[in-house]
Symmetry: C2
Subunit: 349 residues, 2 copies
């Protein structure tokens, strides 16, 4: 794209205007636009094609120490994404190349050479997976599920694994990988449609609809985990974590990946009151942050791309269209409306 | 001891009369007495010299599944102890031998050969440690501290370890072993006297008096753990666990050994509301039950007996006298009145 054409583009952006209390509202966002500058020497300009919407975003909006710094007030909201190189002054990237990076919630991203590593700029191959699969099983959620399961969960054939958020991006990867490793896999998801999908399409052994009633999880675990629970991959926290803690086996591993039930809490979050089950059962609860495994992403991508090709793994994305719909789309995660990995399509590929 | 003399003995016992709600009261105990029978073929009769009073006893009084079955209503209260063989029809045990075993809260124990293993009958050597040390650093609490620290805590020289219940039986072992392994050691205990003792006598680097004020633990951790916390050995649960969770380092290990602050709770226990610090810090919380390490007790005893001899380890026991004082003595654990490992002396050695 020529400099003349670049300068005619407008980069629409969504910025964090204020830190939310509870669920984010329109008041937490500001909409801005900027011109798109030509790339610096060694730099590239990228067009956003699709953004990954993830529960972790809610945490990035809070002040205070976490595994990465919070998004600053006035800053473009942080978001991983996939896109296309539209201008380049860097030999490694040609116009037309597809890439993944931390794009932010905006239509274009100009990256200097010095910022490429920090932004996770990586070429992606659309023969290996679709654009949206590169945000799902081949992207951050897939990497989170893969390494959380393999390195922390340490699945053994014949063990029983339970995963919450089973139809979500991380959950679908965890459950399918655990099946491939020979585990009995029981999902927990909201609604019969999601439960049917993970059982019938993904091959989980069972799935518990946590919305089916106040004792649905407790009864479901009893019915579907007759040998107890060896691995619990937790994306939700709260009452479901407590219900699983009550059924873990000796030497069980609980992978703490997230706690979506607690992210919008306006009071102190609920700690797992059954945590002494860890003592009784000599069990372990351990946190996972995907970035720690960056030097092994390529191995997980290679393995899971193979399963996508041979049909042993499937993926499902829930695609919302239009940058301006970001604020409402994000809320789908917190009311459980999304069915599959939530993706915001920003431009046509 | 001759059969005639044996039959003249009266075995006073304390039995569980009812399951407590909250702190145990006199209504939870019944006092009984029985004759002492001569030993069966292959059996022994033991005289109780001292019993170990431990926080775990409160858990054994509750109904429901745990790491060992509850004490049944009407049963002699379970208690580990040390004593002496007073009659024997077993070649391995001679009258006068000192032993440790699960004595129960009673003056005599008659054991058949078939029950010796289940009762943990083991000869002890008073040249290696005193009777009360065999209930402390060389007994269950010492084994709990040693293996919880070594196998779950995995201390590395230069790391910072925090241990609650620092002046208690498990805490004193954990802190001293961590010092020997080259850690910075910060205790948490109730009252200045206990804090002074673990610092001045046991060589801890610092000790926080949790009774010194509502922010004492938070401020103390900040002051005494400038590099954060790598290992937390938790004997207490509750607010202190939460305060430490807020200061753990990456890849920290939290050893869940007990939760004495919660054992008498009459409502749901308080779960650690800061548990998501495990996620942010890729940290681990893991339970430990000492019985899993039974086949390695002799190694820990040998190592720590060496440290007792060469002065690198010290021990302190808080001795209450008289079987009939068991109910009140037990309560000292829950109001923090005991100073050192709580022991009930039942007869003179």
């Amino acid at each position: 794209m020529s400099q003349a054409t670049l300068s005619s583009l407008v980069n629409h952006q969504i910025r964090l205007a204020a830190r939310p209390v509870g669920l984010p509202t329109d008041a937490n966002w500001s909409h801005t636009s900027e011109a798109v500058a030509e790339p610096a020497e060694g730099g590239v300009v990228l067009q956003t094609l699709a953004l990954s919407l993830d529960p972790a975003m809610r945490g990035w909006m809070n002040e205070g120490k976490s595994y990465i710094p919070p998004v600053a007030i006035g800053e473009v909201m942080r978001a991983g994404g996939v896109g296309r190189v539209i201008a380049s002054k860097n030999d490694k990237y040609a116009v037309g190349d597809y890439v993944s990076a931390s794009f932010g919630v905006q239509e274009y991203l100009s990256l200097e050479a010095a910022d490429m590593r920090r932004n996770g700029l990586t070429k992606i191959d659309l023969r290996v997976g679709t654009l949206t699969q590169w945000l799902n099983v081949l992207g951050m959620p897939g990497m989170t599920g893969y390494f959380g399961l393999m390195d922390v969960g340490q699945p053994q054939a014949g063990e029983t694994l339970v995963v919450s958020g089973a139809a979500g991006a991380v959950g679908q990867t965890v459950g399918q990988m655990a099946k491939i490793r020979g585990c009995r896999v029981v999902g927990i998801a909201g609604g019969q449609a999601k439960c049917d999908w993970v059982v019938k399409e993904l091959g989980f052994d069972a799935c518990i609809d946590y919305k089916a009633g106040p004792s649905a999880v407790r009864e479901g675990l009893k019915a579907h985990c007759p040998q107890g629970v060896d691995i619990y991959f937790d994306n939700v926290g709260g009452d479901i974590l407590d219900a699983v803690l009550a059924r873990i086996n000796r030497k069980a591993r609980i992978v703490i990946c997230g706690a979506i039930s607690q992210y919008n809490a306006t009071t102190a979050i609920a700690g797992p009151k059954n945590y002494l089950s860890l003592l009784v059962n000599r069990a372990r609860m351990e946190g996972i942050v995907v970035f720690d495994y960056a030097d092994r992403y390529h191995l997980a991508v290679a393995e899971m791309a193979g399963y996508l090709k041979d049909g042993r793994m499937k993926s499902k994305e829930d695609v919302v269209h239009g940058l301006e719909n970001f604020p409402n789309a994000l809320l789908k995660l917190f009311n459980g409306e999304n069915f599959g990995k939530l993706v915001l399509e920003v431009a046509n590929a």
